[in-house]
């Protein structure tokens, strides 16, 4: 099972209500994925600061704050439930190793426009916990998980982010992820879980070094073995790909103001003007993308 959802705004009209739109979509996909939920929300604003999305796990916020003050000179911390957004002018090459040294926490993503929140529990609770309704942005991706091949943990929750401003959500399962993980590790990729989707995210990040997102996903058709509907996000938009057998569902609704995608239409039934949208299923093996 699992439910995946995404919205890309073509105009500024709904930027302030993006969080609210995504929130309803996630909650309506609860029956497809009651184990955990997560979302990545992007802001297209020109931002000089890097944002590091961190899950504190069991770590006390004040203790975390002290640790950070010791190690990073210029930073601002915004706490949201058990997650923290650390904002800093410092580059990932400097900050990521520092955060990785604090073993209690998990770095769930970073970039100039992305913020990621994910946690175990029912999607309706997760959405409430992080107050998703208050978020604004340009595009967003979400996931509700029914765990199959790895444990119900924060690390096992989607979206997976393995590169700057990149993220991936996945409905399906991959069968060659162990081999692929070994290969990618040799090339220097790092993984935090046994999850198959994290491998696909790592694969995409690795491939993006030499290709654009569309080319990367096309290549993925031959390198990733299994069932999948993917939504892959970047700072400017997202792309959708279904495997060629297309057992995993996806439906897209497009209006002049937005593009929405979800596992089932009911997740989009509440979106503005959706009954007049162009509604279609993405064809198997074809990459669809919005934004750059």
């Amino acid at each position: 099972m699992c439910g995946i959802v995404g919205i890309y705004l073509k105009s500024k009209k709904f930027e302030k209500s993006l969080g609210g739109m995504l929130s309803k979509m996630l909650v309506s996909m609860e029956s497809r994925g009651p184990d955990s939920a997560g979302f990545a929300i992007y802001n297209r604003d020109k931002n000089k600061l890097f944002k590091y999305s961190i899950c504190l796990n069991e770590m006390n916020f004040d203790r975390f704050k002290k640790e950070i003050k010791k190690k990073i000179k210029f930073s601002k911390l915004e706490k949201n439930s058990d997650h923290v957004i650390l904002k800093s002018i410092e580059k990932p090459s400097k900050i990521v190793p520092i955060l990785e040294d604090i073993t209690e926490i998990s770095l769930v993503g970073y970039g100039k426009s992305i913020e990621i929140f994910k946690q175990v529990g029912k999607p309706s609770n997760v959405v409430k916990k992080f107050d998703l309704n208050k978020f604004s942005g340009s595009h967003a991706i979400g996931h509700t998980r029914m765990a199959t091949e790895s444990a119900i943990t924060t690390d096992g929750s989607h979206p997976y982010s393995t590169g700057e401003d990149e993220c991936l959500v996945h409905n399906g399962s991959l069968s060659n992820h162990n081999n692929l993980r070994r290969k990618l590790k040799k090339n220097g990729s790092k993984f935090n879980s046994d999850n198959d989707t994290e491998v696909a995210a790592g694969y995409i990040s690795d491939s993006l070094k030499d290709r654009n997102l569309k080319q990367t996903l096309k290549k993925g058709l031959s390198d990733l073995d299994g069932f999948y509907t993917f939504i892959a996000g970047t700072h400017s938009g997202f792309a959708v790909l279904r495997d060629e057998i297309a057992c995993k569902p996806a439906v897209i609704a497009e209006t002049k103001d937005y593009v929405a995608i979800s596992s089932e239409f009911q997740a989009m039934a509440h979106l503005p003007n959706v009954n007049n949208a162009k509604i279609f299923e993405p064809d198997p093996g074809i990459v669809y993308s919005w934004g750059k």
Binding site: A246, P249, V251, Q266, M268, A269, N275, I279, E281
Partner: protein, 226 residues
């Protein structure tokens, strides 16, 4: 009678339609605000007319007997799956496995369907005015699949005795499916089906596909096709 799914629970709407008071002879229903719900109008058994105003989710009109159901929107996976009799008319597009395992009745889809349309159909007539996706009529046993547009890859794979009529292009035929001669009785049947779908296209514009009947019994030479 209007049944608003924004106000009523899906289960109570289905229960109502499944248990019609036959003495009252109220036989026209409209379902509003379906909002992508699953299993809308599943298991109806009476000769009633239902119009669904909007898009629905999975297994709409599943197991239908006798009812005449019209969807003014798109449908999700498995519309009219295992239909026994009656009529289901979808005015938009359909997702995967439309009319799966249907035993009888007629399913008309004005738009396209995605993959596996008519999978394992057992006597239902399916008329798609758009195109069908890959693996359509997979293991189809009986009945007719009529496609006005094109068919995707592996049409009629492992087919039994369903007749497939396609007006457009066929991307590829599945194992044991071949183009067949259109006899007089095929044309007569097709004409009748086209009339039911309100179309005046000539049967001669279609090509017929059916089973080559080579995979019916196990033959070691065919092992790669199983």
């Amino acid at each position: 009678m209007i049944l608003d799914l924004k106000k009523l629970r899906l289960r109570s709407v289905n229960e109502k339609l499944q248990n019609i008071d036959r003495k009252k002879n109220k036989r026209d229903f409209v379902i509003s605000n379906p909002e992508g719900n699953h299993a809308v109008c599943a298991g109806l058994i009476d000769n009633i007319d239902v119009i669904i105003k909007g898009h629905v989710g999975y297994y709409c009109a599943g197991m239908n007997q006798n009812a005449n159901i019209t969807v003014e929107g798109n449908v999700g996976t498995g519309v009219a799956e295992n239909m026994m009799s009656g009529k289901v008319h979808v005015k938009g597009n359909a997702s995967q496995s439309a009319g799966a395992t249907g035993h009888g009745g007629i399913l008309i889809i004005d738009g396209d369907t995605s993959s596996r349309c008519g999978i394992s159909m057992k006597g239902i007539d399916i008329i798609v005015k758009g195109s069908v996706g890959h693996m359509s009529a997979f293991m189809a046993q009986s009945g007719n699949l009529v496609v006005f547009g094109d068919a995707g890859e592996a049409l009629g794979d492992s087919l039994y005795e369903t007749n497939i009529y396609v007006k457009g292009k066929v991307k590829s035929l599945g194992a044991d499916c071949e183009e067949k001669k259109m006899d007089k009785h095929h044309k007569t049947k097709l004409k009748e089906l086209l009339k039911k779908a309100g179309s005046n296209i000539k049967p001669e514009q279609f090509k017929r596909y059916g089973s080559a009947r080579k995979l019916y019994n196990f033959n070691i030479d065919n092992v790669s096709n199983y």
